[in-house]
């Protein structure tokens, strides 16, 4: 490759990066300019006094609070379900699986990673339909169903993150503890996993973000435009992404549209905050526990 080719490649890279950053930047600035003015207590709590709403004394009718609550519950349940299974499966793939089963599992998990979220939602909905047919009055679309579907959606991300992380441990590190007499399980928990903690975090971060933002899955599995704060896992609920979508399709006046912009900002901040939180907690933990 000659000098000119190199220059061209560098120029291409610069342009791509600038173009992408500028596009995202413009969209974000637009959101901020439209959404920030609508940012106030009324956005979250409507006419209800904030303290009463937070303590669940009075319901909130015209605010984001129930949707926020629903989204948080959803993410929590989904991630708690998905992380243990994802980690265990990743570990099995990287450390235990023999060649032939591993090939089959790899294929299946690639497949799982590609399944569109709406199909996962459809499967959740189908499950509810089938359950309803078999046991009449069984579990309908609800918070739990959504959370399980979401857990299923993010499972492949967690599996791949774990597997890739473990397989990237260099051979010397991998064998040291074993040579000193550690068992395979000890080696995994005390050497391999801590060694790749940064990569594992990447996987969990992706999972958290996807759970909070996904609209397609919850649309089919129980989210509704108005439900109040969910008091049970088996009830319908509100969620922020769906709130935004509802407003975009059926806003009636400028005020409502403003609320949509503000809600979009809230979701954006929420996702960013979740990301940063996971990021810093994990980095902090890693330094405190393992590199002292």
């Amino acid at each position: 490759m000659n000098r000119f080719g190199e220059l061209l490649l560098a120029l291409f890279s610069w342009c791509c990066t600038l173009l992408l950053t500028a596009t995202v930047g413009i969209l974000m600035v637009f959101l901020l300019r439209r959404g920030l003015p609508a940012f106030n207590m009324a956005l979250f709590f409507g006419d209800t006094p904030p303290l009463d709403a937070l303590l669940l004394i009075k319901p909130v009718f015209d605010g984001l609070f129930p949707a926020l609550f629903g989204t948080l519950a959803l993410v929590l349940v989904a991630v708690c379900c998905a992380v243990p299974v994802g980690l265990a499966t990743g570990i099995y793939l990287a450390e235990y699986a023999a060649v032939a089963p591993k090939r089959v599992l790899n294929l299946l998990f690639d497949l799982l990673a590609g399944i569109p979220s709406i199909v996962v939602g459809l499967a959740g909905f189908a499950l509810a339909v089938v359950l309803h047919r078999t046991f009449s009055g069984g579990i309908g679309p609800c918070l739990l169903l959504s959370a399980l579907a979401l857990a299923f959606l993010v499972l492949p991300y967690l599996i791949r993150a774990t597997q890739n992380a473990l397989e990237a441990v260099d051979p010397v590190t991998r064998r040291t503890a074993l040579a000193l007499g550690a068992s395979k399980v000890q080696n995994i928990f005390y050497v391999l996993l801590p060694n790749r903690l940064a990569d594992l975090t990447g996987g969990v971060i992706l999972a958290v973000g996807r759970c909070a933002e996904d609209t397609a899955v919850i649309m089919l599995t129980g989210v509704v435009a108005f439900a109040g704060v969910p008091n049970s896992l088996l009830r319908k609920y509100e969620a922020v992404p769906f709130y935004i979508y509802t407003i975009s399709s059926q806003y009636t006046d400028f005020q409502e549209l403003q609320r949509g912009f503000a809600a979009a900002l809230v979701l954006l901040f929420l996702c960013a905050a979740l990301f940063l939180l996971a990021f810093f907690i994990q980095r902090h933990l890693k330094e405190r526990l393992f590199y002292r």
Partner: protein, 286 residues
């Protein structure tokens, strides 16, 4: 071996087997609910015929075309951009910028789809309407542009990951021999990182094909067969979301399970294609 170890290892296995079975179970579940279609021999007819409930046609051919054109257009725009971005982060960016840029890209993967679509609906769509395409501004081009922005961070992360996993000794050898970073990238890192890049491409196309919110909100959802980039179109995913509220036993309703099966099969096809490509002999470095 201690009992604890044995239990833990058994749990690892159960988790893997369970996850794998779930993948298959989803397909079987969709198949089960689409069964009435197969019994009437209507599945293939459904895929080939147009959507015209008034005349009794519930075909999903227009949605199939809509999905494919939007996804591939998005990939056409997004892939070069992402590759350039990944090159920039691994090779051309000033050193102090690289880590921050990668973190920024990670953060961008978390930007909610619905936020992108919401912003685009009130910024990009009016722009297209007034300057480029006319009409309502809700069309394939707008959806593909937004999808490209949506899938770029995911692809960049995979590309950078693949490029970074190339042993640094190889690249140091290039430097020692007087090669430039760009040469190391093109002749050493790229050939070695090829499988990882394909993996990222697979995920990108999968996300583009499977995304619901952007096509639902920006592509216009017209049920006619789209004829150009500036036409409004409905994707398979948007179709599922729009029809779900209908009566459970109607033919209209069963068509969404056909959509689901199609999307699932398309994904499977993609995965198999990438697997086959990965079997090609890789160029060894040097």
């Amino acid at each position: 071996m201690s009992i604890f170890s044995r239990i833990v290892e058994r749990l690892f296995f159960l988790a893997a087997a369970g996850s794998a079975l779930l993948t298959v179970a989803v397909f079987l579940l969709l198949l089960y609910l689409a069964l009435p279609l197969f019994e009437q021999g209507g599945f293939w007819a459904l895929i080939r015929s147009p959507w015209d409930p008034g005349a009794g046609f519930y075909g999903i051919y227009p949605m199939l075309v809509g999905s494919l054109s939007i996804a591939f257009l998005a990939l056409l725009i997004g892939f070069p951009l992402s590759l350039g971005g990944a090159f920039f982060i691994t090779c051309f960016a000033p050193l102090f910028l690289r880590r921050h840029l990668l973190n920024l890209v990670r953060l961008l993967t978390g930007v909610p789809t619905v936020v992108y679509s919401f912003a685009a609906l009130f910024l990009l769509v009016p722009f297209l309407r007034e300057n480029l395409t006319g009409g309502s501004g809700l069309n394939i081009l707008g959806a593909a542009l937004m999808l490209a922005v949506l899938i770029a961070p995911t692809m960049i992360i995979f590309f950078v990951d693949a490029l970074r996993r190339v042993p640094s000794g190889f690249l140091q050898a290039v430097t020692a021999l007087g090669g430039s970073p760009a040469q190391g990238l093109v002749y050493i890192a790229l050939p070695l990182a090829w499988p990882g890049i394909l993996n990222g491409l697979l995920l990108g196309l999968g996300r583009a094909m499977g995304d619901t919110m952007i096509s639902l909100m920006i592509a216009g959802n017209a049920v006619a067969l789209p004829e150009s980039m500036t036409d409004s179109a409905r994707t398979l995913t948007a179709h599922i979301a729009l029809v779900i509220a209908a009566d459970v036993s109607s033919l209209e309703f069963q068509s969404i399970f056909a959509c689901g099966i199609l999307l699932y099969l398309f994904t499977a096809l993609l995965v198999l294609m990438v697997r086959l490509l990965g079997k090609f002999p890789k160029r060894s470095p040097g």
